[in-house]
């Protein structure tokens, strides 16, 4: 599954949020979207899972404009785990939450069939959520919840995964486990990650957004240059690949003084 975003423009309440955004994820790629708060990451994701219609530009999933597809057709290709994902699912148990992933596979009269059962079971196993199957969703820990929501997305049998801050509020082991899980699915993924170390660990490519524009895109170390870390994130830092193969970022002792912050990023 290939994702392409072409020359996207989004304006909300007369504020430009995204300007001329173009990016691509090739089949099987894990692409990380990084940038400071308010840089337009979540807005960009919304255009991909067909919640926000761009004023200009196109989002294509496997060559088709997502807005030319029906909501259901689009959701059979793309699954998302979002920050509102907790919702208020009181009274739904874990299996029922995961089964929500089957929603786009049914019309009004559709009943659960063998396919649905199989997809749900497989997703539960894949995410190690089997022991939680009968628990009430609200009784789960943060890490367990995220794993269940990922299972819901996998039960959708998507060919593209969209993840918004999947690892927020999780302890370090839970974070690593989730990242491994995502890697193991082999599904093309577009993920917003605040933590640059995690982004570097998970992703094949990064796209850096700053004030609604793409300021860098490419392999992890090509994007996380000292200049970009300074100009976009306002920190002195260097990123390098350690002998064990993991990219680590070493931050300076202090953030940049405010008067040194560049007014506009140089791309």
């Amino acid at each position: 599954m290939k994702l392409t975003v072409e020359q996207l423009h989004i304006t909300l309440d007369r504020n430009p949020i995204l300007r001329d955004v173009t990016l691509e994820a090739r089949p099987g790629d894990i692409v990380g979207l990084v940038g400071p708060n308010g840089s337009g990451k979540s807005t960009l994701l919304r255009t991909v899972y067909r919640s926000l219609r761009p004023q200009q530009g196109v989002v294509r999933v496997d060559g088709d404009d997502v807005w030319a597809l029906s909501a259901r057709d689009a959701a059979r290709r793309t699954a998302a785990v979002l920050q509102d994902s907790g919702g208020s699912p009181t009274g739904l148990c874990v299996t029922e939450i995961v089964a929500l992933g089957r929603t786009p596979h049914h019309g009004l009269l559709g009943r659960d069939g063998a396919d649905d059962h199989e997809a749900v079971e497989e997703a539960l196993d894949q995410c190690g959520a089997r022991p939680l199957a009968d628990r009430d969703f609200t009784s789960l820990s943060g890490g367990e919840r995220q794993r269940v929501l990922l299972a819901r997305a996998l039960a959708q049998r998507p060919r593209l995964l969209v993840l918004d801050e999947l690892t927020n509020h999780l302890d370090i082991r839970a974070r690593f486990e989730l990242l491994d899980l995502i890697r193991s699915t082999g599904i093309t993924t577009l993920a917003v990650l605040h933590d640059l170390d995690l982004a570097a660990r998970l992703c094949d490519h990064l796209v850096a957004l700053h004030r609604g524009e793409v300021v860098a895109a490419g392999p992890v170390l090509d994007v996380l240059t000292p200049d970009l870390l300074r100009d976009v994130f306002g920190v002195t830092a260097t990123a390098g690949r350690h002998p064990d193969g993991v990219v680590r970022i070493t931050y300076g002792a202090k953030p940049l003084a405010l008067d040194l912050l560049p007014e506009k990023a140089v791309s």
Binding site: S51, T78, S85, G87, C93, I97
Partner: protein, 331 residues
């Protein structure tokens, strides 16, 4: 299935009990006879009581209870608020104003049908107003809707209260009784329309069960699950409002059923709307048939309005249930 049996049994018992108690066997015979299933014709007086007085009343109570419960389930999911009930969008305040206008301006001369029509018209006006106020960017926003419903409710209540102040004591009693709800005026003539609305709306809403479940995940997540959230929300609100408006027009403003029954059934069976909706309909029907039976037996020969009893018996039970249940703490 078990609930269906309970409902039929409760309805039979409700028909048999009254000023004259009629053995269940006779009730069964008379009902079967009228449904075309043969059976011996009983004493014409008994037949009159069973078939013309009590049966329509019991059937109406069941339909009203089912309608309120279904509407409550849907509204709680659609505006994502556990405090929501069928009246959250101002339906009852609009209906009350319509009813009170007719009762006070005509001194009740128009009778039941006039009051029903006016109540329905008032409900429609209130809901349309709330929909118009609850929109933002062409979409219905849950919080805005609920707050608009509250504001419109107070506005209509002001007018209703003013009319009540000017009413004669007799009119006032009629108004009070109407507002607290009753199915005492049930007639066969009104049942076809009410049953078509309640049954059609319930079946239609139950078809959206899977999507209602998706709404529980939040608007953005539901969108990513392929649900057109804004269109779905508008459609469900229209259906639920039509259902509530119809029920309130024939039975007045019966409170608490539409809040309590959805929570009660959700605690018992979980929140999967494909199960929840039909079960809430049955439990709502059973509950209101029982309450109506009590309303005409506990204070004989006077009748009590249903709204008093739904709360009097429902609230303590509901509170007991809330205290026992832990999953609500995370709401």
């Amino acid at each position: 299935m078990a609930l269906t049996v309970v409902l039929v049994a409760v309805m039979m018992v409700a028909v048999s009990i009254g000023a004259v108690t009629i053995p269940l066997g006779d009730v069964w015979g008379i009902v079967l006879h009228h449904l075309g299933g043969g059976g011996a014709t009983a004493d014409p007086a008994l037949d009159q009581i069973v078939w013309n007085f009590r049966t329509p009343r019991v059937v109406l109570a069941a339909l009203v209870g089912a309608g309120l419960a279904v509407s409550g389930v849907v509204l709680q999911a659609v505006v994502a608020n556990p405090l929501a009930d069928p009246y959250v969008l101002g339906v009852s305040s609009g209906a009350s104003l319509g009813a009170v206008l007719v009762i006070t301006l005509t001194s009740g001369a128009l009778g039941g049908l006039g009051v029903s029509s006016a109540a329905f018209a008032g409900a429609v006006v209130a809901v349309v107003l709330v929909f118009l106020l609850g929109r933002r960017g062409g979409r219905l926003a849950p919080t805005r809707l609920v707050l608009s419903g509250v504001a419109v409710g107070y506005l209509f209540l002001a007018a209703t209260s003013y009319l009540q102040l000017r009413a004669t004591p007799t009119e006032l009693r009629t108004v009070m009784f109407w507002m607290l709800g009753s199915v005492a005026g049930a007639q066969w003539g009104q049942l076809p329309l009410v049953s078509v609305v309640v049954l059609t709306a319930t079946v239609a809403l139950a078809l959206f069960g899977r999507r209602l479940n998706a709404l529980l995940a939040g608007d953005e997540s539901a969108t990513a699950l392929g649900v057109d959230v804004h269109r779905l929300r508008a459609l469900l609100l229209v259906l639920a409002s039509l259902l509530t408006g119809t029920v309130i027009a024939v039975a007045g403003g019966i409170g608490f059923v539409g809040l309590m029954i959805p929570h009660l059934v959700r605690l018992a069976t979980g929140a999967d709307h494909r199960r929840l909706l039909p079960q809430a309909a049955l439990v709502g029907a059973i509950y209101l048939v029982v309450v109506d039976l009590l309303s005409r037996t506990v204070n004989r020969p006077n009748e009590l309005p249903l709204g008093i009893l739904t709360a009097l018996f429902g609230a303590p039970f509901f509170l007991w249930l809330l205290r026992r249940n832990k999953s609500l703490d995370s709401l």
